[in-house]
C-alpha cells in the first residue's frame, strides 16, 4: 500500500506548553497571595485585590488557564500521533490557541473589577461565556477533523476520554451559563434558588470530573505508556473504566448540597452515585500504577515517572476521599471547612499539577531535540513539590477538623461552647501559615521548572514540523460478520461521541428535570417576598465583592447550626435568588439569618473596619463602599430583568423603583444618624446594609407553620 508522508505540528504543542507555564505561575501566585491574606488581612490593599475578588481569579486561572492549556498541549501532541495525522487545520489551531489566551486575559481584566456572575467556578460574565463556547467548539471541530482524517483505524482509549471531555464540557457550560444580560457586564442566572444550586453543582462537580479528570485520564493513558515504554496494564479495564466513569460521574453533583434545602431524594441520588464512583476511579488508578509493574527501578531514576507516580497516587487519594466525603455523616464534618480546600488541592496540586510537570519534562526535550537542561533541578522540583503538597494539605485537614469540633461543641448546660464564630477562625491561624508555607514551596518548585525549561529550550531547537509517514486507511472498513459491536464503535468517533452524550444527558436529566417539574419539591412560603429595589442593588454589591467565597447563606438542619444561626434554611426562601448565594466555605459565619441581628450602624462600622466590631477579624476592610456612589441608573433595567425571570413585581414597578429605593435609603441613613453616623443616602454601603438586614427576615415574619423540606 502507498505510504503517505506528512508532518506533526509541534509548534502548537510548544505554544500551549508555554502558556500553561505562564498562567500556572500567575494562578499560583494569586493563590499564594490570597492564602497570605487570610493571615495578614492588610494585604487586601485596594478593592481590586480583596480576597473576594481574587479567589475567583485564582480558581479560574488554575482550572481554565493552567490546566486548560495543559490539556490542549497534551491533546495536540498525543492526538496527532494516535491518529497518525497532522491536526486537521493549522488556522483552527491558531484560533483556538489565541482565542483561549484572550479569554484568560479578559478574565484577568474583569474578575478583579467585580465583574462576575457570582456562580462558583463559572464566574465569568456572559460575553466571555459566549467566547468560551465558540473557542471550545473550534477545539472540538479541530479535534474531530483530525480524528476523521486519521490513518489509524481504531481509536485508542485516550481519544475516547478526549471526546467525552469535549462533549460533556460543552453541555455543562451551555446549560449552566443560561443567563439574562442586564448590561454588557451584568447578567442574572435564569435559574433561581434551589434549581440554580442544583444546576450550578451539577456543573461544578462535573467541571472537576470532565475538565480536570477525564481529560487528564486520556493524557495518562497516552503519556504513562510512552514515558515508561510499556503498554497500559489492562486495556480491558480501561474500557470498563471509561464507560463506568462517565456514566456515574454525571449523577454525583448533589453531594455538594447535602443537608441543604435541596430535596432529600436528590441528595440521596447524589450520595449513591458518588459512592459507586470509587470503583471506576480506582480501576483507573490501578491501571496506571500497574503499567509500571516491573519498571520500578526506572521510577527511581526517571524524574518524569516520579512525577507521574505521585500524580496517580494523588488521583487515587482524592477519588477515595471524594466518595467518603459524599457520605452524609462525613460531609457534615467537612462541608464549609478547610477539609474541602485540602481535598481539592490534593487533586489540583497532585493529580493535575504533577501529571502536567511529568508531561512537560518528557515532551519539551523531545520537541526541542535535546536533553533536559538539568535532571538535578527537576529532582529538586519533585521534592519541593511533594513536600509542598504535604505542607499544604495536612494543616488544612487539621484546620477542617478543628473548626468542625469547635462549631459543634456544647457545654454541659446545652449552650454552644464557642458561640463567637471568630474564635473558631483565629484558632486556625497557625494552620493557615503552614498552608502558605506549603504553597510557597510548591510555587518555588514551579519556578525552578520554568527556569529548567527555559534553559532546555535555549539549548535545543524546535522541530516545528516533525516528519512522519503512514499508510492511509483503505475503504475496507475491516469489519466482518459477527464482529463485536464495541469494535464497531471503536472505529466511529461520531457515534462514540453521541453515545457518550446520551449517557451523560440521561444522568443529568434524571437529576434535574424532577426538581424543575414537580412543584412539591419547592414548597412556597407565603411570607417570602421579592427584594426591594435597594436590597436588589445591595445584593449585586454582595455578589460583586464575592462575599460568597467566605460566607454561606444556608443553615443546615443540625443542632449546632440552628443553635448558632437560628431556624434552618428552607427551599422556599430562595425562589427570588438569581443567582443563589449559598456559598461553599465558611471563613466567616453564615449570613442566612443575619438580618436584624445587629443595628445598621454595626454593619456600617464593620464594613469600614471589621476589627472595630470583631477584634481579630480577618475580613478585608470595605471602607471604599462608604464613599462609592450607588449606580441607580441600572435599577429599572434590573427590575425588568427580574420580571422577565418571573419575579412578581407589579406591572410598571420599574418606573417607580428608584423612588422606592430612595425612600428606603432615607430610612437607613436616618437610623445611622441616630447612632451618630452621617452618610449620604446614595452610597453603596446603604444598599448593602439594606440587603444584609433583609436576609432571613421573611421567614421570621411567617411563623409558626413553615413548610419543611421534603
Amino acid at each position: 500500500m502507498q505510504v503517505e508522508k506528512f508532518s506533526y505540528d509541534n509548534k502548537i504543542v510548544k505554544q500551549f506548553a508555554f502558556a500553561t507555564i505562564l498562567w500556572g505561575l500567575v494562578g499560583m501566585l494569586v493563590g499564594l497571595l490570597i492564602a497570605l491574606q487570610l493571615i495578614y488581612p492588610q494585604l487586601n490593599l485596594i478593592p481590586q485585590t480583596t480576597f473576594g475578588r481574587l479567589r475567583p481569579l485564582h480558581t479560574n486561572a488554575v482550572i481554565f488557564a493552567f490546566v486548560g492549556n495543559a490539556i490542549f498541549m497534551g491533546v495536540y501532541y498525543s492526538l496527532q500521533r494516535l491518529c497518525k495525522a497532522r491536526m486537521f487545520n493549522d488556522t483552527l489551531s491558531k484560533i483556538h490557541f489565541w482565542g483561549w489566551q484572550l479569554i484568560i486575559v479578559s478574565a484577568a481584566l474583569t474578575l478583579p473589577f467585580g465583574i462576575t456572575s457570582g456562580k462558583e467556578y463559572a464566574e465569568l460574565e456572559w460575553p466571555i461565556d459566549l467566547a468560551i463556547a465558540v473557542i471550545w467548539l473550534v477545539f472540538g471541530w479541530n479535534m474531530f477533523g483530525t480524528i476523521i482524517k486519521r490513518r489509524e483505524r481504531h481509536l485508542y482509549v485516550g481519544i475516547w476520554f478526549y471526546i467525552a471531555t469535549f462533549i460533556t464540557v460543552t453541555l455543562l457550560h451551555v446549560v449552566n451559563s443560561v443567563e439574562l444580560p442586564v448590561s454588557l457586564f451584568k447578567s442574572y442566572s435564569v435559574y433561581a434558588g434551589v434549581q440554580d444550586a442544583l444546576v450550578q453543582w451539577w456543573y461544578g462537580h462535573n467541571a472537576v470530573a470532565f475538565f480536570l479528570t477525564t481529560s487528564y485520564l486520556g493524557l495518562m493513558y497516552y503519556f504513562i505508556p510512552k514515558a515508561s515504554n510499556r503498554p497500559i496494564y489492562s486495556y480491558r479495564l480501561s474500557i470498563i473504566h471509561f464507560w463506568a466513569l462517565i456514566f456515574l460521574y454525571i449523577w454525583a453533583g448533589p453531594h455538594h448540597l447535602l443537608y441543604t434545602a435541596l430535596p432529600d431524594w436528590a441528595q440521596s441520588l447524589g450520595v449513591v452515585f458518588s459512592f459507586m464512583l470509587i470503583a471506576p476511579s480506582w480501576g483507573g488508578m490501578i491501571n496506571g500504577l500497574l503499567t509500571l509493574r516491573g519498571a520500578w527501578d526506572k521510577v527511581r531514576e526517571d524524574v518524569v515517572l516520579k512525577f507521574m507516580v505521585v500524580a496517580i497516587t494523588a488521583y487515587g487519594m482524592a477519588t477515595f476521599e471524594g466518595p467518603m466525603l459524599s457520605l452524609k455523616k462525613v460531609n457534615a464534618i467537612a462541608h464549609y471547612t478547610d477539609w474541602i480546600v485540602a481535598h481539592v488541592h490534593i487533586g489540583a496540586l497532585g493529580w493535575n499539577g504533577f501529571l502536567t510537570f511529568g508531561i512537560l519534562y518528557w515532551l519539551i526535550p523531545r520537541i526541542y531535540r535535546t536533553e533536559l537542561y538539568s535532571k538535578r533541578l527537576a529532582n529538586t522540583h519533585f521534592w519541593l513539590g511533594s513536600l509542598g503538597i504535604l505542607f499544604y494539605a495536612i494543616p488544612l485537614y487539621w484546620a477542617g477538623f478543628t473548626q468542625y469540633l469547635m462549631w459543634q461543641e456544647f457545654t454541659p448546660e446545652g449552650f454552644l461552647k464557642y458561640p463567637n464564630f471568630l474564635e473558631t477562625v483565629t484558632q486556625l491561624m497557625p494552620m493557615y501559615a503552614m498552608r502558605a508555607l506549603g504553597g510557597t514551596m510548591y510555587l518555588l518548585g514551579f519556578v525552578i521548572m520554568a527556569y529548567n525549561i527555559v534553559k532546555t529550550v535555549k539549548a535545543g531547537s524546535l522541530l516545528e514540523n516533525e516528519a512522519a509517514e503512514a499508510a492511509p486507511l483503505s475503504n475496507d472498513e475491516g469489519g466482518h460478520a459477527g464482529e463485536h459491536w464495541h469494535r464497531w464503535i471503536e472505529r466511529r468517533p461520531v457515534q462514540l461521541m453521541l453515545l457518550s452524550l446520551v449517557v451523560v444527558i440521561i444522568g443529568g436529566a434524571i437529576e434535574m428535570i424532577p426538581t424543575f417539574m414537580i412543584k412539591s419539591n419547592i414548597p412556597t412560603i407565603a411570607s417570602v417576598k421579592p427584594y426591594t429595589p435597594l436590597e436588589l442593588q445591595g445584593r449585586d454589591i454582595y455578589i460583586r465583592e464575592g462575599c460568597y467565597t467566605c460566607h454561606s447563606q444556608m443553615v443546615r438542619p443540625l443542632r449546632f447550626e440552628t443553635a448558632r444561626y437560628g431556624e434552618y434554611s428552607k427551599a422556599g426562601e430562595f425562589i427570588y435568588d438569581h443567582p443563589f448565594q449559598w456559598g461553599s466555605k465558611r471563613t466567616g459565619p453564615d449570613l442566612a439569618r443575619v438580618g436584624g441581628k445587629y443595628p445598621d450602624s454595626w454593619h456600617y462600622n464593620h464594613m469600614m473596619d471589621p476589627t472595630s466590631m470583631s477584634p481579630g477579624s480577618i475580613m478585608p476592610q470595605y471602607s471604599f463602599l462608604l464613599d462609592a456612589e450607588l449606580d441607580t441608573t441600572s435599577t429599572s433595567g434590573k427590575i425588568r430583568a427580574m420580571q422577565t425571570l418571573g419575579v412578581p413585581y407589579p406591572v410598571g414597578f420599574d418606573k417607580i423603583a428608584n423612588k422606592e429605593l430612595i425612600k428606603q435609603a432615607d430610612e437607613i441613613t436616618a437610623s445611622l444618624k441616630k447612632d451618630g453616623i452621617e452618610t449620604l443616602n446614595d452610597r453603596e454601603i446603604v444598599a448593602l446594609i439594606a440587603y444584609l438586614q433583609r436576609l432571613g427576615r421573611d421567614i421570621k415574619a411567617s411563623h409558626p407553620t413553615v413548610t419543611v423540606n421534603k
Binding site: Y8, R81, K84, H154, V157, I240, W243, R487, M517
Partner: protein, 62 residues
C-alpha cells in the same frame, strides 16, 4: 421554563428513571462480559497503538 408544562402532562413519566437505569445496567453487564472475553489479539493491537513503529520517521529518540 415553559417546557415544564408539557412534561408535567405526560402520564406515567415517573417510570423513566427506572427504565433508563435498567438500560444502563444491561449495558454495563454486556460491556463487562465483552471486555473480559474479548479477543486477545485485538486487545494487544489496541494496547500498542501508542507504540506503532512506522509512526514517525523520527529516529532521534528510538
Amino acid at each position: 421554563m415553559k417546557f415544564i408544562n408539557y412534561l408535567e402532562s405526560i402520564s406515567g413519566i415517573e417510570i423513566y428513571p427506572m427504565i433508563s437505569l435498567s438500560v444502563f445496567f444491561v449495558f454495563f453487564l454486556v460491556l463487562t462480559i465483552w471486555a473480559l472475553t474479548a479477543n486477545k489479539e485485538h486487545i494487544t493491537e489496541m494496547k500498542n497503538i501508542p507504540f506503532e513503529k512506522s509512526n514517525s520517521t523520527d529516529s532521534f529518540f528510538i
